[in-house]
Symmetry: none
Subunit: 200 residues, 4 copies
DNA sequence: GATGAATGAGGGTTCATTCAT
DNA sequence: CATGAATGAACCCTCATTCAT
């Protein structure tokens, strides 16, 4: 052990993380096929074989990034489901908060998001999983009579995922909106729709 | 040659269309990079150089397919905007019809849709154009007081595009819903949202 | 036979000459390998198979051009050797005239010259043949005591060919000199060299 | 390793030089277009991709050879111009020596010469540069009254280059003459021409 | 006399990946 | 921990040439 107390093997870990981070950038910008190992290692200041010290293949590092995205996302959604039954009034805020935290997550990890949520072949499954999760939540809230029973919650869940997908690209990644603001607008729209309510 | 004789030069046109159709299938299924010219021509019963009789490059045939999608889509949207001012009641139906015809178009050309609306680098622009178009329509309807003036129509347009994107994949391409049914459900949701209206 | 008295087959001859002329231009400008049959026929307004009506191959049309150059050149040199023994004084003029007519020929057929005298694989042989011819002439003039017997006529013949080669490109094809002027200068130099003669 | 150990990285350099040398041979013998990378690497005992470790393209290796020729040639001519003003008598010898060293250079690097001085598209420029250089030297000698002032030195320079070009092929590469012998004969001819001087 | 349609043969180039050190 | 050197496997593309009409 060195005098500075660096744990043995930390160099390797650092190298690996360096590669991962650069790879994320490259994959996010250029996509899987236009990204070359050669470019990644060059940017990291390594030689090609070094890459294979840490990853068994190009596919492997890519899927490691996808998984990383997936796990972080799972942590997020599982965290946001802790509080079970609260009073009715707070539901919209709770939904807004959840949504906002998803947007924030996407903002914090734009490269991972680009890869996992948009580019990768897994993206479809990941979105489906997100839709399923939302669907489940909605159903349970529907059963608690927060929402009317005739609503097709599966469809709404998909619409919500579609909204997230589209608005992340157009508003969030372009810095035209904040996570919180966007979440609020969406929830408002989802709750009340476009036709104005008659006010007595 | 008689009137029923084969039109002159039609062979070439047929060959080109054959290649286009097979290419659409391959690109839709495997994506741009996993699709090879060699496979396309093999499936079409041609040799490789024949491909270059009709297309200057792999990129060229791909962008031809993307353009074809774009043009068809443009025709659709320009057609659906003919009828200008109608009475209020029919607005929802008209929107539903428009939406339904988009879904029907996607159903009719699943390969082109996969390519132009999902895979291609142009997909982002195409969706943005669709959102812009919808936005425009919504604004005009908003100005005619069909919708309340406080709604953020840009956001709603993006949400609608996101809904289309997601539901086309999950419901339409899996044959779990029809164009018309899906359109109706979406419009219903968009108009009234999730919170039930108080009924006297 | 048509009313305009056009000989049967003249269309074919015209087509062939058209192709030859365009091919000469292309080969001269771009060289053998960068010239494509496709470009030649396109410029001539024909389709590719038409080419093979008149020439059996790309090599064939090229060597036809080379031969054409070679034959014209042979005509020239054989013509210029008719007059045998004349009085001594006129020899320099005769040589100058011969040289001038070669330059004139090169000026009149720049494309053929570029091909036959510079580009083609035959060029080496053609130049050697020219050198041999000149050598022969010089020898005969040497034997007639026009020139001193210790001169290495073979070397001089080669130098003359080299001079022709170089000056055709740098002076003639760039229009910086005329055939006659150039010929005169060369002959003058060849006869008297660089060291000034002592004059009493 | 030890002092006699193989220098680090020398393998790559050797491989590159091996490829360069074989390529020079191939290009010189067959010309640019009939030479294939596949043949070069096969002869060198490598696989095709190895070629691209050292050269970015076929064009690149070719122009590297041309440049190599050009640089060596430049070294030669710049070296031969050191001694400025000497007595008149030695001028012919000095010219002879210069010429001889050019011939010797061509003899030493026949492949490079074939490529750079005859085949390549740069050949024309290289010869022109050589002519310019010679022209310059001649002018300066003319101003020093070594040569009579009425001589067209530009033309003479071109003739000299033409002579070099032609005699290198016909006499040098065929081993019919030595560098020194050839140089001497040429200089002799250039100085005194063909017409014998009157001797009292 | 001419052409629409098609192909055989081959060439250059790229990239992920490995071996020996 | 790291790399210099090398390659297997493909892929896109071009061009002279031909066949049937």
């Amino acid at each position: 052990m060195g005098p500075r107390g660096r744990k043995k093997g930390s160099v390797g870990v650092e190298s690996k993380e360096c590669l991962l981070s650069i790879a994320a950038e490259e994959f996010a910008e250029k996509g899987y096929y236009k990204t070359t190992i050669s470019t990644i290692v060059k940017r990291a200041g390594f030689s090609q074989p070094t890459f294979y010290l840490y990853f068994t293949s190009k596919e492997h590092i890519y899927s490691e990034l996808v998984q990383s995205f997936q796990e972080k996302l799972k942590q997020l959604t599982s965290a946001s489901r802790l509080e079970p039954a609260l009073d009715t009034n707070s539901l919209p805020e709770r939904i807004t908060t959840s949504l906002s935290s998803i947007f924030q997550f996407f903002t914090d990890y734009p490269h991972l998001t680009k890869i996992g949520f948009y580019e990768s072949e897994e993206a479809t499954n990941i979105k489906q999983a997100m839709a399923d999760q939302i669907h489940e939540n909605l159903i349970s809230e529907q059963q608690n009579n927060y929402f009317s029973s005739h609503l097709n919650m599966e469809l709404i869940a998909q619409v919500l995922v579609g909204a997230i997908e589209r608005l992340t690209i157009t508003k969030l990644f372009s810095n035209e909106a904040t996570s919180a603001g966007l979440a609020k607008e969406i929830v408002d729209f989802f709750l009340y729709g476009m036709v104005p309510r008659e006010t007595k």
